[in-house]
């Protein structure tokens, strides 16, 4: 430390710089609660979670304004509040010793994926039961189910491939709850929608449509990545 700094002493009990140079709020008992609060707010008000909550609300309210208000309030206020709490947690650590790059504990990532999966589950169950109403013709259901099938297979394949690759295992693990919910919803849809009267031709065409859409998206992404790499 410089001689000019002698009259100020660090009041936070930080780990010895020789032993541990970089510190994270989770290492400090006094910073941990506000960091946890900030992360929790962030997990509960992330854009996908807010969008799903807004979708559920749109279904319940049957009008456009409440979900828009809910979505904006959740994302904007949530981001501000979460940011405020995490900032207060970082206050305990000198800037040169802040470990900004440290990944969160795996259980935290899984928990935030669990929140998303829960809301996704509610939304999907609503969709399943809405389409089960008698005013929806069975042909629509068959086509939709074909699309569902391919979508679920794609989501599941993505997670499984990620889990198999050591470098992407974290991402795969985080995607696991969401994928499980999607698969469960597909199974639920099959049992709820059809009593052996599924129109297999329409089901097949639904699957083809979804596959075509997926190939289109995949090709766009691949082309995008190629272009980014070539630059």
């Amino acid at each position: 430390m410089m001689a000019a700094h002698e009259d100020i002493r660090e009041e936070v009990t930080l780990p010895d710089p020789e032993v541990q140079r970089l510190v994270h709020p989770l290492d400090l008992p006094e910073a941990r609660p506000s960091f946890r609060t900030g992360w929790l707010i962030g997990a509960l008000t992330s854009v996908p979670v807010s969008a799903l909550v807004a979708a559920i609300l749109a279904y319940a309210a049957r009008s456009a304004l409440p979900p828009i208000i809910a979505f904006l309030a959740l994302t904007v206020l949530g981001a501000l509040a979460g940011r405020w709490y995490t900032d207060r947690a970082w206050d305990y650590i000198p800037r040169k010793r802040q470990d900004r790059a440290r990944p969160l504990p795996r259980s935290w990532e899984l928990a935030s994926a669990g929140v998303l999966a829960l809301v996704l589950g509610v939304a999907l169950v609503l969709v399943v039961y809405r389409l089960d109403d008698p005013d929806v013709p069975v042909t629509v259901r068959a086509f939709t189910f074909g699309m569902c099938l391919v979508a679920a297979a794609l989501v599941l394949a993505d997670v499984l491939v990620s889990l198999a690759r050591p470098t992407a295992r974290r991402r795969g693990l985080a995607g696991l709850p969401g994928a499980a919910v999607v698969v469960l919803a597909t199974v639920l849809a099959w049992t709820a929608w059809f009593d052996g009267d599924a129109d297999t031709v329409l089901l097949f065409w639904g699957a083809v449509t979804m596959t075509a859409a997926a190939v289109l998206v995949g090709a766009t992404q691949l082309w995008d990545r190629r272009r980014a790499a070539g630059r």
Binding site: M1, H5, I8, R9, E10, E11, V12, L14, D87, R88, W90, D91, Y92, I93, P94, R95, K96
Partner: protein
């Protein structure tokens, strides 16, 4: 007038003499001169907060915001408002009344 930071003007204004503004060119001239003194002091205020900003910024590198805020007697969020890296404004090098 700026060389004494407005001392002379102030002394004249509080003297209670009948035509105290006369030597400086009348009340309008005094008002304008006093505004000039004000502009100078505002500039000095802004110069010192720029110095403080750079110093606090340096403190935040080595000490936690909690410690810095406690020592400065301000709230934790306020510390980040005070601190600013590399202020780009240019300031006067010396005050007019400093002995050369």
């Amino acid at each position: 007038m700026l060389e004494d930071g407005g001392d002379e003007l102030h002394a004249a204004a509080v003297s209670g003499a009948e035509e105290w503004a006369k030597p400086y060119g009348g009340p309008l001239a005094v008002a304008l001169l006093a505004a000039e003194v004000g502009a100078l002091t505002a500039h000095l205020t802004s110069r010192s907060s720029a110095i403080r900003a750079v110093a606090v910024e340096a403190l935040l590198d080595d000490y936690s915001a909690v410690t810095v805020a406690n020592r400065l007697g301000v709230s934790r969020q306020k510390v980040y408002d005070i601190a600013r890296p590399n202020s780009t404004t240019t300031f006067v090098d010396r005050v007019p009344w400093r002995n050369r």
